[in-house]
Amino acid sequence: MTKEKFDVLIIGAGAYGLSCAWWMAKRRSGARILVVDEGEFASGASGRNGAGFRMQWGLDLNIRLCQESTRFFETAAEQLEYPRGIELKQDGYLVLAHSEKALAALKGSLEVQHRYGVPSELLSADDCLKMVPALGRNRLVGGTFCGKDGTISPFLLLDSLLKACRREKVDVRYGTRVEKLERNGGGFRALVQDGPIEADKILLCTDWAVPELLASLGLNLPVKSLPKEAIVTVPCTPRVKPILISLEHHISVNQVNRGSIVFVVSRAREGKEIASTPDFLAFASQKIIDLLPGVADVPVLRTWGGVSSLTPDMQPILGETEIEGLYVAVSSFRGLMTSPAVGRIMSALILENDTNDPVLTQLTPRRFKTGDLIVEPLLNQE
């Protein structure tokens, strides 16, 4: 068997993996890049999420990552030479607060957003109800809105990236599971079912599964898996124009162009199963009606599940590990919306050793050893 050798092996062909691969291929043409994924096209969290992107965060780094990514989504059709487009929709995001504490966090975040020029604004409870009459008044105290936030089609983003990668001669292989990583001189060896693959550098983009692969090299990273479930309704009359998220309900709502409404509902649990849980539908329906009584009559068409990653400070992990040449990019449940910026930053780091982006200092894997955890004000509303 001829040994296969690559400059960079990327494990995981989700939004992070494919975006990093595309940016690398653009940055250095002729680079030998292989992307492997144990599943099939769009079968992981990148194909199972709520499809939203937003710049409404409270922390500089999240705002910057999403601002850059939003600009990319706005021009993705041209940049990725994908005439069909990625179904970009910028109807805005309405972030709702159902307690004074949440409202205070929204107001604080608004100031940071304005520093970066994010066109977000504060809304009263009445403004929110005017914008979305289907909402319930119960406990609602206000919200913030940014008209530049929106949604894309995750499937079309992944397909456009996949086609762009292949055009740039990136080798993308589905159904290829890496069992184990080994060090090999200055580089690495990845064991897959067809034999070993050698690579000078490795980037792990398997999100919640990153610890498994790191363990084979004696490293650990505190990444947990967070299963989520989603609901899609049959197409119905327009009821929810902007994307809604409720900090306390842990629900996001997106009515897509076809008229179906997509709800992603989070509950605190751990696991790696994407299967639907028996008590989910009733639990979620009660919460959804509490948040949005105006959809109570809408029939549910289907549910699905996905697993995202969760880190101790709920922030992504980007950077080189303690082993030189071994990199990680863990999304912490916002991979789709940050993937363009992460692709650019990681490709510069890996190919050019460019560590200038301040995001890299904050999101380094080393922070869990040094204790420099980060706080995102909009993610700690229980």
Binding site: A42, D159, T233, L281, A282, S285, L301
Partner: protein, 467 residues
């Protein structure tokens, strides 16, 4: 302690299973979509409707004997008409919607007897009003006692199109043409099967006689390749498929009609079985993906049974025997199923089932579709009606290496719409097989909901106390 059994579906298999399980002292719940028991094949008209039934008398006698047997025990059954099971789970939970609320049941055993639906093969124009399934046309006759069309072309394969043509004639309609993909002579290669099915054959011959006497123009080896019309169907183009599975150029002929009734066999309603996590296998002739079951209808999941056509097409007579056998197996503790007592007890029914199954060998020979049939699907043909997906898009997804139904779905949205893929997925699997030489290894991941249910009803949920 009385065993609790939930039976999903009140067709021949479900009714027979319920009768048997009640007889054996179980607490039985039957959940059915229809307003009255009977399922598709033994569909009953609204009681206020009078008028002739166009089926054979012997067939009607079978139907009424079983329905009467079910009615005789119905007051000992928790019978839920017009109720939908929208989800089942590997832990044995059954979630059903009835009226404006939902309920969760967790019986000792569940019997899935959800039958089959008709197999759609898309072709140019198949979505024009006036093109429908032959079984659907028959249902209109059975349940509403009205003619689904005045001047009908009936097409497809197997026995059903011929029966439907005869029933339309008996109801006073006119049949402009009967197109059969294969001659029923294929059955002659199974003399033993024919002997076992002689009673059914007799009914079949009487339907044939109706068709012959009416001098219906017959086109053997022909399939509809184009439906013609705008708002309404005006005509259909038939073309011949030759021995090499090619559509013969120049063989096309147009026939004026206001209804095209087609049946290309059946697809098992196996989504609920798959949701329990039961092991599945694919066999296009008997209904695509079906649960792997043993002689007692047991699946790979303890406590989950499948009976009748939803375990693989077998016809009403087998389904009825099947129901009795599976109902008995579900009624006893799992350790007793393999014991000698149950087998002895069921010996006569099992022998009858074997005999009826033998006849199905001959029927199946007429339902095998040639690969060439998929060539009637052009790039422009709408395949997934809910999401407006044409075959060209699916072909492109296949060509870029997306071979599984899940991957195709994520690329082109086929199967994501209102029907949840019930109409198109089986066709897409066969199209993928015809295009790439390899059938997708798995069905599209089955998930709740099997039927759409409003949030309000799901939120108003009654949960049986744990036993």
């Amino acid at each position: 302690m009385q065993r609790s059994i939930v039976i999903i579906g009140a067709g021949p298999a479900g009714m027979a299973a319920a009768i048997e399980a009640v007889r054996r002292g179980c607490r039985v719940t039957v959940i059915d979509e229809g307003p009255r028991p009977g399922g598709q094949i033994y569909r009953q008209p609204h009681p206020a409707l009078h008028g002739e039934d166009f089926a054979e008398p012997s067939e009607l006698a079978r139907k009424h004997r079983l329905i009467d047997g079910f009615q005789a025990v119905i007051d000992r059954i928790d019978y839920r008409a017009e109720a939908n099971v929208y989800a089942v789970f590997p832990n044995g939970e059954i979630h059903l919607a009835q009226g404006d609320r939902t309920e969760v049941l967790r019986p000792d055993a569940m019997i899935i007897a959800t039958g089959v639906r008709e197999q759609a093969i898309p072709f140019p124009g198949w979505t024009i009003p006036g093109v429908m399934f032959a079984g659907g046309a028959q249902s209109i006759l059975k349940a509403q006692r009205v003619l689904p069309g005045r001047n009908v072309v009936v097409a497809g394969c197997g026995p059903l199109p011929r029966v439907v043509a005869a029933q339309i004639l008996r109801a006073g309609g006119s049949v402009a043409a009967l197109a059969s993909l294969r001659s029923l002579r294929a059955m002659l290669r199974y003399p033993r099967s024919l002997w076992c099915g002689r009673d059914i054959l007799r009914e079949g011959l009487r339907y044939e006689w109706t068709v012959l006497r009416a001098r219906v123009p017959q086109f053997t080896g022909y399939v509809p390749v184009r439906a013609i019309g705008g708002e309404r169907l005006e005509a259909v183009a038939l073309a011949r498929i030759d021995a090499e599975d090619r559509i013969v150029s120049g063989s096309e002929r147009e026939i004026a009609c206001d209804l095209l009734a087609i049946n290309y066999g059946f697809v098992a309603n196996s989504e609920l079985a798959a949701m329990t996590g039961a092991e599945m296998r694919r066999d296009p002739v008997i209904g695509g993906w079906v649960a792997v079951t043993d002689a007692f209808g047991r699946t790979s999941v303890p406590g989950v049974f499948v009976a009748g056509d939803s375990a693989g097409l077998r016809g009403a007579l087998v389904a009825e025997c099947d129901g009795t056998i599976v109902g008995a197996a579900a009624a006893v503790p799992s350790t007793a199923v393999d014991g000698a007592a149950l087998k002895t007890n069921l010996a006569a029914t099992m022998a009858r089932r074997t005999r009826h199954l033998e006849f199905q060998q001959a029927v199946r020979a007429t339902l095998r579709l040639p690969d060439g049939i998929w060539r009637i699907v052009t790039d422009d043909t709408l395949v997934c009606r809910c999401e407006n997906v044409r075959f060209g898009e699916i072909r492109e997804a296949l060509e870029s290496g997306h071979r599984s139904l899940n991957a195709i779905k994520r690329n082109v949205r086929s199967g994501m719409g209102w029907c949840g893929g019930r109409t198109c997925l089986h066709a897409i699997a066969s199209l993928a097989e015809a295009a790439t030489g390899q059938a997708p290894a798995e069905m599209m991941t089955p998930r709740p909901m099997a039927r759409p249910v409003p949030f309000a009803a799901i939120a108003r949920q009654k949960r049986a106390a744990a036993e």
